[in-house]
């Protein structure tokens, strides 16, 4: 028994040590480095016109991409769980693809469609402009809501919807009154993940944005540009701001998870 207890303690120490070295120390260090000269320079650094513009642009892109992916996510999840059609495996694989694909490849693919000499030319500029950045963000954050809602839908089944239908409810009423309330926490969890990804996307957005300061620069692009300009303190400050957003995301996930799992 004492060997077993020793083994358990040893494993605990190993795992916590690994997490501390890989996760806690590095993340703690960035906050220390950011605030080692006090709050004022950090505040000044994240309220420069370029930083404020980057903040609003990041928010704007997320506010377009997240609702689009939420609506699509619910529709796709319903089709995947309730529908019967050929090629379900294929649709499922395509939905997961953005997770397994390099953001650089995603950015380049959009460039080849909408860029100079590309397949599609629209009356407005897409590449090196906000529409392209929205497309890139929608692409990379596409799977979250679908993948969160599918298991919840499976769990709740469709008996209540069937009952509603026999009682004369239209499919639309059944969706709003029965399905949506049942899956709302799954949707909420997916929305949190989508938002975090949308705010944090770098590679794909970097390629399609052209990185024009004050025009197509999001927060993550601002971090990189400040680093390239040897403004390390500025890069730390913008990183810390994104770090705070990430911690808020974790909090939201922790609060939503029990509700989501309860269904």
């Amino acid at each position: 028994m004492s060997v077993d207890r020793g083994g358990r303690l040893g494993l605990r120490v190993l795992v916590l040590g690994y997490l501390t070295v890989l996760l806690l120390v590095p993340v703690g260090l960035i906050f220390y480095r950011t605030f080692e000269h006090g709050l004022l320079p950090v505040w000044q650094s994240i309220t420069t016109p370029a930083a404020v513009h980057a903040f609003w642009l990041t928010l704007e892109i997320a506010l377009i991409a997240v609702p689009l992916n939420t609506i699509f996510g619910v529709i796709a999840a319903l089709a995947l769980v309730r529908g019967r059609f050929r090629g379900k495996v294929f649709v499922d694989a395509v939905i997961r693809l953005p997770f397994a694909l390099s953001p650089v490849v995603i950015g380049l693919a959009l460039l080849l469609v909408y860029g100079r000499g590309g397949w599609i030319s629209l009356p407005f500029q897409v590449i090196f402009s906000v529409p392209g950045m929205v497309l890139a963000t929608v692409f990379v954050s596409l799977p979250f809501v679908v993948l969160e809602v599918v298991p919840v839908l499976r769990e709740v089944g469709d008996e209540q919807e069937q009952a509603a239908a026999t009682l004369g409810a239209t499919p639309w009423q059944a969706f709003w009154r029965i399905t949506l309330p049942a899956i709302r926490w799954g949707i909420a969890y997916g929305v949190v993940l989508t938002t975090a990804r949308a705010i944090g996307e770098f590679g794909a957005v970097s390629i399609v944005s052209g990185r024009i300061a004050g025009q197509t620069q999001t927060l993550t692009l601002l971090v990189e540009q400040r680093f390239q300009n040897f403004d390390l303190a500025g890069a730390y400050a913008a990183s810390a701001l994104l770090g705070v957003i990430a911690i808020a995301t974790l909090l939201a996930m922790t609060l939503l998870k029990p509700r989501k799992d309860q269904g």
Binding site: V15, L29, L101, S102, R154, T220, A246
Partner: protein, 283 residues
């Protein structure tokens, strides 16, 4: 993987099948149409363009872009570092999942929540963090910028949650009676783990490791600042592609991208097969 059918769920599904279906056709058909259209516009058309236009300069140009010494070196580096990272994750992630489920200590809830931090944190911030840790101003005197060590650290950081989150629910579902029975028959804890526990975890470990491999092969934001991008030495495939796009050679970049796309598809397929294997294991 997630969504593995629980016994209760199977019962409900069976019951639901007995009831004649009332709503079909119309609404779900429309939903399928909308979903397919959205997927086509956002995902399929761009990827089709990537594949088609990678041969814009002819097949010869495509082949020489993919087999150029620099591209091959970059792809090789991406592949072996990602394999190494997947292997480390398989062990460390399983251990972490085990401790998070079976062990009891103060602050476990916080640690459990923090596991997802690499998913919540933008990759470029991870790059900056590593720069602070092992860059010129390192507080611990580590200087690993432009080395394979920096690449491995970045990849380990961003892929940390995959195996943990895929193994954790399986450990939770494990029946401890089997382990107790093995222990009462005199099996050592190592034997119990190897013979009783591990076989149940293998599908989840492999699919988590496969996901972290796929993520690592294409990783960009966290490595672009610390890898150094030295050709034949620390240049990763994603950074190489980015460089080609920057130097206005999108077609050459597309050729190497098609290789990465192929790898992603193969990994996704493997995970799909593993998922089916995993759910069969449970029955």
């Amino acid at each position: 993987m997630r969504g593995s059918p629980l016994p209760s769920e199977a019962v409900t599904a069976r019951a639901a099948r007995r009831v004649p279906r009332v709503t079909t056709g119309g609404a779900s058909g429309l939903g399928l149409g909308v979903a397919t259209l959205w997927l086509s516009v956002i995902v399929l058309i761009p990827l089709a363009a990537l594949v088609a236009r990678s041969t814009d300069g002819g097949l010869d140009t495509f082949w020489s872009a993919v087999t150029s010494r620099q591209a091959v070196a970059a792809l090789k580096l991406s592949l072996w570092t990602s394999l190494a990272v997947a292997a480390v994750n398989a062990v460390a992630g399983t251990a972490t999942a085990w401790v998070l489920v079976r062990d009891r200590f103060r602050g476990k809830g916080v640690i459990n929540a923090l596991i997802d931090l690499p998913f919540a944190l933008p990759t470029i911030v991870v790059g900056i963090i590593l720069l602070a840790l092992v860059g010129p101003t390192s507080p611990v005197g580590l200087h690993a910028i432009a080395t394979t060590w920096a690449i491995l650290m970045a990849l380990l950081f961003v892929t940390l949650p995959f195996v943990v989150r895929s193994v954790q629910p399986v450990v939770q579902e494990l029946d401890t009676e089997m382990e107790e029975a093995a222990a009462s028959l005199g099996a050592s804890s190592i034997t119990i783990f190897r013979r009783v526990v591990l076989p149940n975890l293998v599908p989840a470990i492999l699919s988590g490791a496969a996901m972290s491999f796929a993520r690592a092969v294409g990783e960009f934001g966290s490595v672009v600042l610390v890898a150094g991008n030295i050709p034949f030495h620390t240049q990763l495939a994603s950074v190489y592609i980015f460089g080609q796009v920057e130097s206005d050679d999108p077609i050459g970049a597309a050729a190497v991208s098609v290789v990465l796309l192929g790898i992603s598809l193969v990994v996704l397929l493997a995970i799909g097969v593993l998922g089916r294997w995993g759910s069969r294991h449970e029955r």
